[in-house]
């Protein structure tokens, strides 16, 4: 299980540390920190918080948000993150994925993909952190999934935009379409509302991880209880 923590400015770092420690304590297997406004505003994440987060966590964590170069990724990893996740910058400059994989190994390189159904196809979207700048890329999602793997991505987080935040369940149709072409770990994102949604995404879309944010932030789902429920429903995971 993976979860996202969204935040926009460093005034909330105190809360982030507290939240990170709490989730870690409750049994989260990995944390993902998104600075979703980094790419649209053409700035990179403020990194002073990463080292502080690293101090309170003894599980892996990934940092996403406006990482546009090997140097920037190296700073994030040196501060204690396990992985970096790239999304919009990889669409602008796909060779970034190759460069990151070559320097740090594929296991450090996550590619986030924001995707939605357009007609009969799935299309990749860019700059989704800012509604004013969000745009379709005309890239077909399945093609992009294949390409980033060829370039060295070690994990793909597929954020199904239509499901995001509405808590009606993961986009099983889209995830099932992506799974056969994704030979690296695939993490589902967007749509978790109930424990049953988690069971369904593992059982029916055969994903390697499920990411959720709002249900944990609001306390709608307790991580410990969720994990017990999943274990009882044939999803093997760390207790």
């Amino acid at each position: 299980m993976v979860k996202g923590v969204r935040f926009r400015d460093h005034q909330v770092v105190g809360d982030i540390l507290e939240l990170a420690a709490r989730y870690c304590d409750e049994g989260a297997d990995e944390l993902v920190f998104y600075d979703i406004t980094a790419s649209p505003q053409n700035r990179t994440v403020d990194r002073s918080w990463i080292a502080r987060v690293a101090r309170v966590l003894d599980i892996p964590f990934c940092v996403a948000g406006g990482i546009r170069s090997v140097v920037e990724a190296e700073e994030v990893l040196n501060a204690g993150a396990e992985k970096v996740s790239v999304n919009s910058p990889a669409l602008t400059e796909p060779a970034l994925v190759d460069a990151l994989a070559k320097r740090f190994g594929s296991q450090c390189v996550v590619v986030g993909i924001d995707s939605q159904t357009v007609g009969d196809e799935f299309e990749v979207y860019q700059f989704t952190g800012d509604p004013q700048r969000t745009r379709g890329t005309r890239r077909r999602t399945l093609d992009w999934v294949r390409e980033v793997q060829d370039r060295g991505a070690g994990e793909i987080v597929l954020n199904c935009m239509a499901s995001d935040g509405v808590r009606q369940g993961y986009d099983l149709r889209q995830l099932r379409a992506v799974r056969p072409v994704c030979h690296v770990p695939l993490v589902a994102s967007g749509g978790a509302g109930t424990p049953e949604h988690f069971v369904a995404v593992f059982a029916e879309a055969n994903v390697d991880g499920a990411l959720a944010a709002s249900v944990f932030h609001t306390g709608a789902i307790d991580i410990g209880e969720l994990k017990r429920y999943l274990s009882g429903n044939h999803v093997e995971m760390r207790a």
């Binding site: 599980i59 892996p60 190296e74 204690g80 296991q107």
Partner: protein, 199 residues
């Protein structure tokens, strides 16, 4: 004053979490490639993120291969660091440190299992070991790897991903974990604490 652990500086970027984990256990650590510092450290950790051939090239360039092979104190290889203890690796077709006579191979991609193997997986201990003291039965540890070492006489614990592989190894004073103890929550911390108690 000497530090508790010398971490071999081998160009990897992911050292921070290891140092923090040691710090949490009250152990001081020093990141170094200085032969004298490595020789006098009470314990040595060989970390490793990246590719085997690159890592061996760097160790050769630093002139550390023979030195590491002959260290008498407890040495812990983590992840790629564990794989480097073996004779050779299929990753970049490189010879390694040759402490353990076996070859590290790529995970078979048949069975449709995603590679790298990334996530929490159970350990199955095969024998008693000071390194594994105090752990629950079959604890979950955090793994990230595309290559794996076969099960053999040096295997202290196995894990399974498509096939069984070595998750913890020991040969004399050389120990290795395929998982990342520094990112494996309380169970991983226990393994590091056990390592720090080895003489």
């Amino acid at each position: 004053m000497t530090t508790d652990v010398a971490i071999i500086a081998n160009g990897g970027a992911n050292i921070a979490s290891l140092r923090i984990a040691l710090d949490r256990l009250g152990a001081s650590s020093e990141l170094t490639s200085d032969p004298a510092a490595l020789r006098r450290a009470p314990r040595v950790i060989l970390p490793g993120v990246g590719a085997a051939a690159d890592a061996m090239d760097r160790l050769r360039a630093l002139n550390l291969v023979e030195l590491i092979r002959t260290l008498p104190q407890p040495v812990l290889g983590i992840c790629l660091g564990m794989q480097l203890l073996f004779e050779s690796s299929e990753e970049g077709e490189t010879s390694c440190l040759g402490v353990i006579p076996a070859r590290v191979r790529k995970f078979p991609t048949r069975d449709g299992l995603p590679v790298p193997h990334m996530g929490w997986n159970r350990l199955t201990p095969r024998c008693q070991s000071p390194l594994l003291r105090g752990l629950d039965d079959a604890p979950h540890m955090y793994f990230v790897h595309s290559y794996a070492a076969p099960v053999g006489p040096s295997t202290l614990a196995t894990s399974e991903y498509g096939a069984e592989f070595s998750a913890v190894v020991q040969c004399r004073n050389f120990l290795g974990t395929q998982f990342h103890p520094e990112r494996s929550s309380r169970a991983g911390s226990r393994v590091l604490a056990n390592f720090l108690e080895l003489q």
